[in-house]
Symmetry: C2
Subunit: 578 residues, 2 copies
């Protein structure tokens, strides 16, 4: 992993490949690498769909090693959704395979001429780029079927669906999972639209004949990895809750807290929650012959995912994540698991962010396009996106544009990106993260739910403003570091509560690279990443005014707690004081 | 004109009227008054469609007097199109009538409950507000017909069409002209959407029984007004060019300069220009029995407007302005006057900004929705807006949203507002105004065309960056002052070239109000207005990054001069150094 693969998609005569050393990027992985490359090489004033933007795809520092949970891949660029810097990461197989191929990053530069579409094939021999006209406008599942026929199912793919080709602002990038299905998405910020603008339909990664990356100190590495796995297995969230019910274990919990945004963020509790809870999904999956406990990539020991099958026992989609269940469920007033699973499948197939899609449908429901609770209507809306109809293009541009086009005031967005499944009035810590994250509204950027609701890493009262800024600041710093390791963010539960598990992670990195990193060094990395991202955003025109929630979160009381967001502007402006 | 009429459209139990004194707003009119009220009373972080926004309608300082050319009305708010402060002004009758009624401003506050629509009737007895359900979704011409039946044609109206009711970001506010037609629009920035959000369909102004406002020194006022009229009549632009051919005298001139944006700003000359020039329009109007020389309000001595009739001699629309002819003509590759006139009529009828509509259609053509030059296609697109179809809502949201939804990189917008009819690469001075104006891309905010092309007020080479910042700065300051007097901006040609005509204007203001204003005082007013506007925008999140043209104007050479925009960022950032 000591080289960077650069492909100029706009080179005269066709795509041109160049392999660089790491240079000043040495020692960086995942989000640290994508954000540093974007911050260094992309003009903050560039048009996100223009040739000047770059799409950077980077496995984490520990990806491609034997380290458990190291399968996240980071994808970065200037975002067409927010206009700021973006890193969206995904699970699945590509991180491990790309790392074993030796690439710290793939950087797609320039734009292919309008109408040209390519596939990129990478194996140990090198890189092959060919026209992919026969893949044009294929949904992800159909695309992967075609690729399977040509390349087998041992490869890993990074691809876009029709939404990315149409350059829609909510287009995702799909990564294939262990079953070679396109189910793991770098969902947020329209990264798929940038890949579409580059003219790349799919990157096929083939690590045949290659082995895991070797640590500098194999013995220490093995030892640390054992402690690491033990720590993850012994924590109640990563050892029990997530494997049993998946991320959707949260539906009941967040609903109980009164922070489960319902019908476009009008209420904090959803009367239909029990029908769509993680418990119910697991029950359905078990009864129908699906599987409620399943990993998204090899080396996962949490296995929070699952397989959702239809009434006849046929595969429908992977077990929908909590945020997807919320977005297409409570936020749309829909309480039917099969509808939600179908929407999840359609989002994955067309290549769309489930969060911005659920938020956009919620806004469309508020505008009266379809009523809240309309299951068929919601499915049709996503199908419209796949078709590229005018309505579909509106929805596929995300919740902010949908609100603008339909004249709806209540758009739950920050920096143009839709809020996820936690109402910032009833869970004030996550509101600080939504407001101030460099990414726009993003729960993963500083997951205060852990401490506000799950009492992991201590407890800060979710209904009060006190302590939220410090909580969010620390989590944002830690997350920026974790996102650079290739580690799944869910390890955070264990490392926040168990110092020895955190130490095991640091030991693994040190043993692998021959370093002497400590906890402060990890925090320093996180701070460095955040500062580079924030500096990019500042140059792109972001100010304190962009670090705010929409006005109505300050004035409209959320039942049942009847609370508004109370963290002051001055406090929000202190998040990045480090 | 010593009182402000405030109407709280969201008051419990229905709209509530309150009449205030001027207080700290004393001495302000037009744009100075709308911008000061918005800057003082509206939270810069407010949602433009939310109850916190205010719509301020203010005649100028000299409106309602015998002063020639004093018929402009300013309409201000936080803009749903740009997200910043907005003042859009229009001709027609309302300024004079509202001023005679004694109101320095109408301020619409709060939002009527969803689905409620009202009409506001104002005469010397007071204010009457009634439900206007029978006016719902009426286009402006149909609305005015209905009003004529109830109120006669001696009133003046300020109204929105379906676009405003749909809260589309490019919705205009219509003002009736001397023939009681809804042809004069406060077009830019989506002011119509804000009126729609307030729930006001139309304001009917009736000055029966009222006279012109009386100056403090009638003798001096009369004398100054005479010099004023003489000055306007003797200048070649205001005395000859504008009366003869209207504003569209510019098509040939700007095309000749190579700065006539053609087919979505791809070229600077349009091969079809002669078919759509002001000369051709005047010829058609004369031959068919229309009228090429006609004022938009009583008291106009320039009479740059006209009456366009169809092949059978029936009224079709007022003579389309240069910017409209360009937007629907060269920018869409359309060279047919009847098509352009029909588009102008449709824009007026639905209540839409012709500039953002032409730019949006140009972007849609670039996206391949219809081909460049498709006359019927362009008419259908505007009809779609009137219908409120999904496609129509996209187009009606303006060029920036249209580009986002269709994944088009080349969107000719600044701060979300479409550039008008002058390419900033071939006419660099106007590029400085586009980039830095508080209003988004706006030619009227600092009309450098005067000095770059028409050689009014001296000459600054349009193709070179030198001198443009100073030119734009001075014009932006002067314009902010002129926009506060109620004077039509076209007086600028005469006052820039003829010091005695400028003095006559100052003498009129002094004679009317008993003041001792001088040229420096006028400039001070302009600076004060700009500073308040810029301060509002800063609080709303605007930075130097927003004072830039889109990237492609810096990289894509415009034929035939093959120039890019060359004014540096540092120079742009110095515009407001005063």
């Amino acid at each position: 992993m000591d080289k960077i693969l650069r492909i100029d998609m706009g080179a005269p005569g066709g795509p041109k490949v160049k392999v660089d050393g790491l240079g000043s990027y040495a020692g960086l992985g995942g989000r640290a690498l994508t954000s540093m490359i974007v911050a260094t090489e992309v003009d903050p004033m560039a048009n996100p769909l223009g040739a000047e933007n770059k799409l950077v795809i980077a496995p984490g520092l520990l990806s491609g090693t034997a380290a458990a949970m190291s399968g996240r891949i980071s994808i970065g660029c200037k975002s067409p959704l927010t206009g700021g810097i973006k890193e969206a990461n995904a699970g699945g197989q590509p991180a491990q395979v790309l790392a074993r191929l030796g690439y710290a990053a793939i950087v797609l530069e320039g734009n292919a001429p309008e109408g040209k579409l390519y596939k990129v094939y990478i194996n140990k021999e090198g890189v092959k780029i060919e026209p992919a006209d026969d893949y044009k406008m294929l949904p992800n599942y159909d695309l992967i079927d075609k690729i399977k026929a040509s390349y087998g199912d041992k490869v890993a793919c990074i691809s876009i669906g029709p939404a990315g080709e149409m350059k829609l602002s909510a287009a995702s990038i799909a990564c294939t999972d262990m079953e070679f299905r396109p189910t793991r998405h770098a969902g947020r910020g329209g990264v798929g639209a940038v890949m579409g603008a580059k003219g790349v339909k799919v990157i096929i990664l083939d690590d045949s004949g290659l082995q895991n990356r070797e640590p500098k100190d194999p013995e220490k590495f093995r030892e640390a990895n054992k402690k690491w796995v033990d720590g993850l297995r012994s924590h109640s969230v990563t050892g029990t809750a997530l494997p049993t019910y998946g991320t959707n274990v949260l539906s009941n919990i967040i609903n109980e807290s009164g922070g489960f945004p319902t019908r476009n963020f009008k209420e904090g509790k959803f009367e239909g929650v029990s029908a769509i809870s993680g418990e119910t999904f697991a029950d359905i999956e078990t009864k129908r012959g699906g599987n409620p406990t399943h990993g998204c990539h090899r080396g996962c020991v949490i296995r929070c995912s699952g397989i959702y099958v239809d009434k006849n026992g046929n595969y429908l989609t992977k077990q929908p994540e909590y945020e997807t269940v919320w977005a297409h469920g409570a936020n749309c007033g829909i309480d039917d698991p099969d509808t939600i699973a179908m929407l999840d499948y359609l989002d994955d197939n067309y290549g769309l962010d489930t969060i911005d899609m659920g938020a956009a449908i919620g806004v469309a429901m508020e505008a009266g396009i379809i009523p809240f609770g309309d299951k068929e209507g919601a499915i049709n809306l996503i199908k419209e996106v796949g078709k590229g109809s005018y309505l579909g293009r509106i929805i596929g541009s995300g919740a902010a544009v949908t609100a603008k086009v339909f004249g709806v005031e209540r758009a739950p967005v920050v920096k143009g990106q839709a809020m996820p499944a936690y109402d910032p009035r009833a869970i004030q810590g996550i509101g600080v993260t939504y407001a101030t994250s460099t990414m726009g509204a993003d729960h993963t950027a500083g997951y205060c739910i852990a401490t506000n609701i799950l009492k992991v890493g201590g407890f800060v009262d979710p209904l009060k403003p006190e302590g939220q800024v410090e909580l969010s600041r620390n989590l944002q710093i830690a997350t920026a570091a974790v996102d650079s390791t290739g580690m799944c963010l869910f390890i955070a539960f264990a490392i926040l509560d168990q110092p020895e598990t955190f130490q095991a992670l640091i030991d693994m990195i040190n043993a692998f690279y021959g370093l002497n990193l400590d906890a402060d060094g990890v925090a320093d990395l996180g701070k460095k990443v955040l500062k580079a991202e924030r500096d990019f955003n500042k140059k792109a025109g972001f100010t304190a005014a962009h670090d705010r929630l929409p006005k109505y979160f300050y004035t409209e009381k959320l039942p049942p707690h009847n609370v508004v967001f109370q963290v002051t502007d001055e406090e929000l402006d202190s998040v990045f004081n480090f």
